[in-house]
């Protein structure tokens, strides 16, 4: 097993920079998630690590070894693809053992490793079937198994759950996390789903437009986003944003004000739904802010209300249990001061 290091890695396609000076250290045994919207460069970064894309600039190291010019098969990595990429004409057993056979492992070793992986992923009964005879979830497990049997230095996973239905996705999420902890192999996992990132990663690297926006533990990213992009991307429902101006020692927004504490310039206030509460005179809340309910999302245990202020800002308000409000109703709410984050200008860094 080994850690992975990206040193100012850049990938260019002609004039387009898909990944820009990515520098990142992934510790041995760590579960690192690359997350970001489409075109953020997360998959390109993963493919460069796999050796499927050439590095334009910078260095990638696996352990102490620079792998820029090492062929994919000599990098000692295993990858799970989004579409699983199972060999359709081979049985599950042959799919699992393919990599070992190519590496001239002994028959006994192949049998032992395939047996172990099959047992870990409950594939024992399916070993003689072809991929087309399996359900999506089973195919996904075979793809995982194929990576597992190789016992590589690093696992790479490129959105491996995106083809599963919601329920199976949640179940497999836990399964992958458990397996990774058991085996302790360094894992780089790419996803566009921030819930997956938050629930699976030891650390998360948030990417956007080819740049690394922030890297940290899920709690760090959630509580202390480095900039407005990360604040908006991590968390569901997303953080609400409102422009604020400094006026007379106060930060004034659309219907609310808070102490400026020496801050200057136009800022953006961000607040997560759990820090926006219905106004009940609770001391210490910032507000009251009035607005019109635009939508109601009742999830059972809690309800999210989308509320538009007269100035056009939308806040998401979290209400315990079921809410009686309907779209079009006037409501008043307040902001919890500890939950308020401020960002420079419109898109800037956290203040």
């Amino acid at each position: 097993m080994a850690g992975v290091t990206f040193e100012a890695v850049t990938k260019r396609y002609g004039a387009v920079e898909a990944v820009r000076e990515l520098s990142l250290e992934i510790a041995d045994g760590e579960f690192m998630v690359f997350v970001g919207p489409s075109g953020s460069g997360k998959t390109t970064a993963l493919r460069m690590l796999a050796g499927l894309e050439a590095v334009s600039d910078g260095r990638i190291l696996i352990g102490e070894l620079e792998v820029n010019r090492v062929s994919p098969r000599d990098r000692d990595i295993a990858m799970v693809f989004q579409d699983y990429a199972l060999y359709p004409q081979m049985t599950v057993r042959d799919n699992l053992s393919f990599g070992l056979r190519r590496r001239k492992a002994s028959k006994g070793e192949i049998e032992t490793r395939v047996g172990r992986a099959a047992a870990a992923l409950e594939l024992d009964e399916l070993l003689d079937r072809k991929p087309r005879e399996l359900s999506g979830g089973q195919q996904q497990r075979v793809a995982l198994g194929r990576a597992l049997v190789r016992d590589p230095q690093v696992f790479l996973m490129d959105e491996p759950l995106s083809n599963l239905d919601a329920k199976l996705r949640v179940q497999t999420r836990g399964e992958i996390k458990r397996l990774q902890k058991e085996i302790g192999t360094t894992t780089v996992y790419v996803t566009h789903d921030q819930v997956e990132a938050m629930t699976m990663g030891d650390r998360i690297a948030v990417m956007n437009h080819g740049r690394l926006e922030q890297v940290g533990t899920p709690a760090e990213l959630y509580d202390h986003p480095a900039n407005r992009f990360v604040a908006g991307f991590i968390g569901s429902p997303a953080m609400s944003f409102a422009p604020v101006e400094v006026q007379g020692g106060e930060l004034r927004g659309d219907g609310f004000a808070l102490p400026a504490d020496g801050r200057t310039g136009p800022l953006t206030l961000g607040v997560r739904p759990e820090h926006v509460r219905a106004w009940n005179g609770e001391p210490g809340l910032i507000g009251p802010v009035s607005g019109t309910v635009a939508y109601v999302e009742a999830l059972g245990r809690e309800t999210f209300l989308g509320v538009d202020t007269p100035g056009g800002t939308r806040f998401v308000v979290c209400v315990d249990g079921r809410a009686k409000e309907q779209p079009g109703d006037q409501v008043r709410f307040g902001l919890v001061p500890e939950g308020v984050r401020l960002f420079e200008g419109e898109h800037g860094s956290a203040v």
């Binding site: 796999a50 050796g51 499927l52 062929s71 994919p72 098969r73 990595i77 295993a78 990858m79 693809f81 989004q82 579409d83 990429a85 060999y87 359709p88 004409q89 393919f98 990599g99 190519r102 590496r103 194929r146 190789r150």
Partner: protein
């Protein structure tokens, strides 16, 4: 009601076209089975005469012609298939300098008809001492077939998910191993369809055989049939029997492989 009427109309139209397509074939078959003398004198057909085939086979020297055809066809289909698969894989899966220019150059082989190059080709092959040998029939047809085969196989390889090849690479598979063991087994319909097409075109090739060989032992079936027809201008039953003999192998190959052939054609049509 309209839908049903439409359906009837469709069947009617298809029926008419089938008749138009089948009539000459049935005509040849019926003629081949008739009495030679009754045909010549517009007499009533008298029974079924399978002996016409035996007569045609013997008189037309078809054993020799078919042997030549089989030698040429097997050589052309085998060589073209192997070369087309490898070239198609390179053009479909690999990135290399001059890839596009080379591919278009190869496509010229599809665009320029053999008739346009047959004369210089004859002189070239004569200088190489290859005229009047099987090679004069095999190499030019391999050239033409590889142009088509590469085009065909490239389209197939482009339709294969890249991740399959990448997974094999990460699993330690070389390009050679990936091609033959991972990708090609998926493409059996595409390969079989290509083989059937090359088989048919090679089997039916006439002009090349006419120009390149004069030795009777090297004549292929279509060329032999033409000579046979020249010798038996009036004996329609015998002529028809000869035609049936020459056409039968193509029909048999198609019938045996039609399931794969149709699947290959459709996958090509859908995936482009």
């Amino acid at each position: 009601m309209t839908a049903r009427r439409e359906q009837y109309f469709t069947y009617l139209l298809l029926g008419v076209f089938s008749l138009i397509a089948l009539a000459p074939i049935v005509g040849i078959l019926v003629t081949a089975l008739q009495d030679q003398s009754s045909l010549a004198s517009f007499g009533e057909p008298a029974g079924v005469h399978f002996s016409n085939f035996a007569d045609a086979w013997r008189e037309g020297n078809f054993a020799s012609y078919l042997k030549s055809s089989v030698i040429v066809v097997i050589s052309v289909v085998t060589l073209s298939t192997v070369l087309s698969i490898m070239a198609g894989y390179a053009f479909g899966m690999m990135r290399f300098r001059g890839e596009q220019a080379l591919f278009y150059l190869l496509l010229l082989g599809l665009m320029i008809p053999l008739e346009a190059t047959i004369v210089p080709l004859y002189y070239d092959l004569r200088d190489l001492g290859l005229t009047d040998t099987y090679w004069a029939l095999i190499w030019p047809q391999v050239g033409v077939s590889v142009a088509f085969g590469t085009f065909w196989m490239r389209a197939f390889f482009r339709s294969v998910p890249r991740s399959l090849v990448e997974a094999a690479r990460l699993d330690g598979s070389s390009s050679w191993h990936t091609l033959w063991r991972v990708v090609l087994p998926v493409g059996r319909p595409a390969v079989l369809t290509m083989m059937v097409l090359i088989f048919m075109w090679t089997w039916n090739e006439f002009l090349l055989a006419l120009v390149m060989v004069s030795d009777e032992d090297l004549r292929t079936a279509p060329l032999g049939l033409a000579f046979f027809q020249g010798r038996n201008r009036t004996d329609f039953a015998l002529l028809a029997a000869g035609a049936v003999i020459v056409a039968t192998p193509v029909v048999l190959v198609y019938v045996f492989l039609q399931r794969h052939f149709i699947r290959g054609m459709l996958s090509g049509a859908v995936k482009g």
